[in-house]
Symmetry: C2
DNA sequence: GTATAGCACTCTTCACTTGAGAGTGCTAAT
DNA sequence: ATTAGCACTCTCAAGTGAAGAGTGCTATAC
């Protein structure tokens, strides 16, 4: 990895900055005009030639200006951008927090509202995963007599009701009987994460451990299907906005985004990525991660609720985007979300 | 309203049919070749001239063939199409039913799966509203002690759990106390529709009727916010497919669809429309109904669950679409949905 | 009187050309 | 090492012209 000297960094920065602003290939003369760096176009050309050789920029055709490559953007985000102070639009932060705090409902609605706000501010496609259910701590399981053999099973966590479903038993039980059974189950499972509960149920069913109570065994079997699996859904917002943007103007990109959205594997990839590390991450030119999404970038951050439970929130936009601004917006959205979710 | 004679009907039918198949302006020679109707292009031209005068077809420019107008399509759907037997692709129907019957979950998931299947078969944008909550019959309200002052309120209907929420009371009550309160509320509200329950609650709170029990009054007040409002959400599916179709090729239309999707008022319009009448309806060129959706048509049908409760399901596509096929698909989806929802 | 063949006319579409403009790389001079 | 000058390449936009499609009109046949 050959390092770039000061001049090359400056020129690269100038090219990327100009390209973000103007969305056209950037020529040497343009740079010399926009940035009074004291160099003639010819000198800039020499530097650009080197930068192209090193793979940071490229030209669409022989007589065009230079356009940053994915590598160039990557370098920009990693190195060049940090050198400036990331100034945060403070009124934006304020409005963001205000918007979110008006939503007093469950965390799912909150996350949805976050995507709405995010797409509004970013003018790109906002995406978010709901809080992971896997790591939620189970508080109690409750069975309520519903009608004859039918019983309403309710799974409750710290966060509230996680899931409920009407199940049908083999015969009619009294509410008292059900209460005893649920007590027994609670003793065993209360305080564990949803994931561990599922594992434990599977284990117990596998061992066919003789239960002291037939009803408990029965309920255990039925609960297997009720314990919620990982949420395979995600919110997104800002579709209508995206089609207005100049960068999204090509059908190709529109299609790519649609594919990505409807392909649920994308979601899994995303989850994997966010779970690996915390904080705001930038994926430039996503073809390594998700083949259909070349020419697109993603700025994504994680939010948490009670330390461990959390999800991801971010935006998808063209590779050519204002990373500085976007990182700031996403970062603050994630922070605001974390804050409000922790208040409850 | 001048009626069309047999020949004009035939020519109009031929034009529309050809336009649906080929998606190009239809000229007189093309018609004479595709349909050996025994007329020369010249004669067909004369007829076409008349049809244009009457507003059923139009030409994009002087030397182009004719394209059906909205009026033309309207006439086609109303009159010309019925004259053929609407043959149903029976294996399609079968697969449709099979796909839906694999989903054994709640009705919301079922409706979502229906949109997925619908978009798959139609290759257009599928849209559906979940079952209306307003007309659901309340079965019982249940309060479960949760933690100190916190109580889990569960609203149960014939269909299962409608909504649940954790509420906080002013002081600590015993479960027995809560059971008594819920019994009292059940006596009053059980068997009414959700809408009537809400109205009744509002009325009682307005009158500030002295309750025999402070707890009941308290719960009543809290329930006001729990009783679910009309669902303002709707499923849709098939976005990625739409951008592949030749008709959706223009950005203008893509934008229109996005606008329509994100504008929730559209949803309300849709609900109004479906509630007016039952059965499959076709809206050709929707600018009267929804200004942003010119150049788009909608085929929509209603499904029911237990006679009264239901929603709408349909597709949105270009004005130039295969109405016969689409009506068949939508119709069968609605029927299949009704059937499966009634089995529970 | 109705249907048809012929024909002139209009308009789009596409390929091709051309000139302007932008940007580069090379070379020679500072 | 930097820069001015210059030839070169390539895109883009506008213009041109031929081909093709389709119509409307008119005269003619049945």
């Amino acid at each position: 990895m050959s390092k770039l000297d000061k001049r090359r960094k400056e020129i690269l920065w100038a090219i990327i900055q100009s390209h973000i602003d103007l969305n056209i290939p950037i020529g040497s003369i343009l740079i010399s005009q926009r940035f009074p760096v004291g160099l003639s176009p010819a000198t800039i050309r020499n530097t650009m030639s080197k930068l192209e050789e090193m793979g940071y920029i490229t030209q669409p055709h022989t007589s065009a200006g230079r356009v940053p490559t994915e590598k160039g953007y990557r370098f920009y985000v990693d190195t060049l951008m940090d050198e400036q102070t990331i100034s945060i639009n403070s009124d934006l932060t304020k409005e963001l927090s205000e918007r979110l705090s008006t939503i007093t409902q469950d965390s799912d609605s909150l996350v949805k509202e976050a995507t709405r706000t995010l797409s509004l501010f970013s003018r790109y496609l906002a995406i978010a995963t709901p809080p992971k259910t896997e790591e939620i701590l189970l508080k109690r399981i409750k069975f309520i007599k519903y009608e004859n053999k039918k019983v309403l099973a309710v799974i409750i966590s710290d966060e509230g009701v996680v899931k409920n479903k009407i199940i049908e038993l083999d015969k009619i039980y009294t509410q008292k009987h059900l209460d005893m059974a649920s007590n027994q189950l609670n003793c065993e499972f209360s305080g564990l994460t949803i994931r561990k509960v599922r594992e434990k149920i599977a284990y117990q069913l596998y061992k066919e451990k003789t239960m002291c109570d037939q009803l408990v065994a029965n309920l255990l079997y039925l609960c297997k299907d009720i314990i919620p699996l990982e949420n395979d859904d995600f919110s997104l917002n800002g579709l209508s906005g995206t089609s207005n943007l100049p960068d999204f103007a090509t059908m190709k990109q529109i299609k790519e985004i649609f594919r990505a959205i409807e392909d649920k594997r994308f979601m899994l990839k995303l989850l994997q990525l966010i779970s690996e590390s915390k904080g705001t991450q930038v994926f430039v030119g996503m073809e390594n991660i998700f083949p259909a999404m070349s020419e697109l970038s993603m700025v994504v951050s994680t939010y948490t609720k009670n330390k461990s439970v959390g999800g991801a929130v971010g935006i998808i936009g063209p590779t050519r985007m204002n990373y500085k601004k976007m990182i700031s917006i996403v970062d603050h959205t994630a922070k605001a979300l974390t804050q409000i979710l922790s208040e409850t």
